[in-house]
Symmetry: D2
Subunit: 137 residues, 4 copies
């Protein structure tokens, strides 16, 4: 699990005075990339192997609004890793109080450079087992 700290930016707020809900989806991406960096498999390394991993779905439940001046901690982890799909889950907390601000999930697949879905188990079993070991149980 990665705990990614993120200061709220002014340009992320909207006229309600709080962070616009679309930005949490971007925070999830930041935390996911930090997760891959930390476990030694950065995004760039995947791209070098001709793999991209588009987002198949996102889901976010907003619990407490986040304001400018706050720092959030985004905990990201791999929850499932199947033959053709994998899932990340996220918890966004206020860094100071620990109060949960939002929870979410994204699901992904791997595509090769021609845009075709890749079964990592077949194409790159080593990379596949690397990811399987990262699943939070």
């Amino acid at each position: 699990m990665t705990e990614y700290l993120r200061k709220v930016q002014y340009y992320e707020t909207d006229k309600m005075g709080i962070v616009h809900h679309s930005n949490y989806i971007r925070w999830f991406e930041e935390a996911r990339i930090a997760f891959l960096d930390e476990c030694g498999m950065p995004f760039e390394k995947l791209e070098e192997q001709g793999l991209v991993s588009p987002v198949l779905s996102v889901d976010c439940k907003y619990k407490t609004p986040v304001s400018f001046g706050q720092t959030v901690k985004i905990s990201a982890e791999i929850k499932e890793f199947g033959a053709a799909r994998f899932k990340f889950s996220y918890i966004v907390c206020d860094e100071k109080s620990g109060a949960i601000c939002a929870i979410g999930e994204t699901s992904h697949c791997f595509l090769d450079s021609t845009g075709r879905i890749v079964s990592l188990k077949k194409k790159n079993p080593e990379l596949c087992s690397f990811f399987e070991k990262l699943i939070t149980k």
Copy 2:
């Protein structure tokens, strides 16, 4: 139901060459606001009555990537309207081919100016029945 047309913007693409997934959440908002405009209850009118309606959850499933140069049609409708919560659903299609690019949902509540949850049924039954009539069956 509102059918909202939207040209893809260059700044909405990412280095994969397609629209970044976070932007669909913003398109949902645009379509939702267009929906409220069309049915004569624009956002500004709700705000004048001291009501804001934050997003409680979003959900999006991505089917086909969207590229710069495309125009999408976002169909938005109210699916549920309960005492304290309501739901919108969305279908994003390519305008020309009609191919489905993404489907999604958002859920919302009403807050008054002090930030407290409002039961529209109690506080403003007229507005409540106005929305109930808009539900797509």
Copy 3:
């Protein structure tokens, strides 16, 4: 000259209650692309010829804040078109009152597919004279 209409989006506002200043730079791009579309030389057509035109500089002066609910009219035109550089200028007005909200400029060059600066006069004199005719005098 192109007159591009644009409804302000909720997600473009910030906690000051007005459109965040960075979004005007995106509006300039939208108006520039609409300009190229209108004069029959859409961005995609330039890309087909292996040309991209990155932004070399932007400049924006903010006159009157813009709020959610407003529609702005962005007037875009080519102001200079030299051998290696060209300039667009923009005026952002409130659609209803005509009040000027902002004025700006962007400058650009052409790069080929290898990322090298292209002198359009040498490489594609026809396209060059096409653009020269569009300059607002």
Copy 4:
């Protein structure tokens, strides 16, 4: 002078494969806010005194494109501080090589809570001299 480090985010890239030019304007804001934090006068403190400081103009010259995977260092400083206006300047470098990616400027004023321009020299001479001491000579 503040030296603000910033990892490039995936969602900040566009289909040219580089950071979209509008995002530099947001980085300037991040660096400006970090500057105010560091010198003990955070944005929130200004807002508590009923002051907001909208952006009057931005200017950015792009030198070298920035890509996903890079970290940039944004050096921000106050360049002028007059009765009714002040200016920040920015240099964006690649953290590793030190190569200059962009340079820019923003100018600002102070408004009170009713939206009127404030002469800080008259209204709050202490705060005014605080800022004057921060000017880089």
